[in-house]
């Protein structure tokens, strides 16, 4: 935890506004984990290599494991975990709009794997030393597991980026995901991001998180010559995006640019509708 500053053992100890922002962030993260797991699971069979399908299986399970921990934490924020996990309507989900529909092609899945999954990890990394102890004590395990997701994405992007056809496919798939991920951290000066940073819940505000994400994914997309990021020419080591995100329709509460949510079939799977009669403690 942040040295020399008092930790918060439970949500009730947090200032009201910080508690609201953190609760909201945890729902956003849990929903993204749940939906991203579904998207990985779409590729358990039919990936370009059997090994890739096995990797998708492992990554899907990791995401659902992380989602399970996050939904459980929300109980202490006054949310009813069962309701959050099993009873919400599609429009109540706060996952990125990119996850509303399946990844159509393998490069689309790689964009989610490398860019979106890393965006979530950057948000968790910012809470590794959080003053909010229940998060602080869980993040390192989540990040341990996420390291393999990044390596998987990096390996595939580097491999596909080595051919003209592969690079073109990656460029088409990565552009919308890139823009959405830049936006996902919120605009510079975002109120929630600033409140969480100032309270020591995170170690960076929205702009700082976006910069850290660029540090992680910039070198990979540059190596694959996707023309999305470049190193600052001044020798600062800072990665810059070549693309500016649009803020049209951006809703900071749900961290989405458009209302929507998973379609009916996906919603039923995400909520576990068919398993409802078997739900037990």
């Amino acid at each position: 935890m942040t040295e020399g500053r008092k930790g918060y053992a439970k949500p009730a100890d947090l200032p009201d506004d910080v508690r609201d922002h953190l609760g909201s962030l945890l729902i956003v993260l849990a929903d993204n984990k749940r939906l991203l797991g579904m998207r990985y699971s779409d590729w358990l069979l039919g990936a370009p290599a059997l090994e890739a399908g096995i990797a998708c299986s492992a990554m899907a399970q990791d995401e659902w494991g992380h989602g399970r921990i996050l939904y459980a934490m929300l109980r202490d924020f006054g949310y009813e975990a069962n309701q959050l996990e099993h009873e919400r309507e599609a429009s109540e989900y706060r996952a990125m709009e990119l996850l509303d529909a399946p990844a159509g092609e393998w490069p689309d899945l790689l964009a989610l794997n490398l860019l979106l999954d890393t965006a979530l990890s950057v948000q968790f990394e910012a809470m590794a030393e959080s003053r909010f102890e229940p998060v602080h004590y869980k993040v390192s395990k989540l990040l341990d597991e996420e390291r393999f997701h990044f390596e998987h994405g990096r390996g595939w992007v580097t491999r596909l980026g080595g051919t003209d056809a592969g690079r073109e496919a990656l460029r088409r798939s990565f552009r919308p995901v890139w823009e959405a991920c830049l936006r996902w951290f919120g605009p510079d000066g975002d109120e929630a991001g600033r409140a969480l940073y100032e309270a020591g819940i995170t170690d960076r505000d929205a702009a700082g998180l976006r910069a850290r994400w660029l540090e992680r994914v910039g070198p990979v997309v540059e190596l694959a010559r996707l023309e999305l990021a470049e190193l600052d020419g001044g020798g600062s080591g800072v990665w810059l995006s070549r693309v500016e995100p649009s803020w049209d329709g951006w809703d900071p509460d749900v961290r989405r640019a458009a209302r929507g949510g998973p379609d009916a079939e996906m919603l039923a799977r995400v909520r576990g509708d068919k398993n409802r009669p078997l739900l037990m403690d």
């Binding site: 004590y137 395990k141 009669p277």
Partner: protein, 156 residues
Amino acid sequence: MTLVQLERGRGDPRRTATLEEGMNFAAVLADSRGEGQVLPSPPEWTEPPADLAEKCRRALYEVSDPEFLISLVDLGLIYGISAHERSGEVAVRLTFTATACPCTDFIKWDIRERLLELPEVSEVKVEEVWDPPWTTSRISDRGREILQDAGIAIIG
């Protein structure tokens, strides 16, 4: 077709499992829990346990991980045990090898059942913890030997 309803407390319908009669749920569960699996004998102790917490820890050498043929203690999943000598309340700090462990409920159940067999234990609470993260370095030397004999090499 007759349905059997298994109440799981508080009368909340969402917490009610409905199963077709004839489906031997207990048997399925027992099988999933690994009953019948031969777990290597616990270590041989030369001294009696110093206190109730130590007695509980020793008992957990008899609880296997559902996927590996070693005890939860040898696998390094038990991060701490505290026990109130007079009231018999026991708290176990438990981690899992992965956040997506599919056996979390079975493991917690097995711990409770085994510890409640001790006459001094009145109540068992299991706290799930993730810090520090579990790695294979937490497997005991004894656990490594048992796994190696079963043809499983542990790296790290």
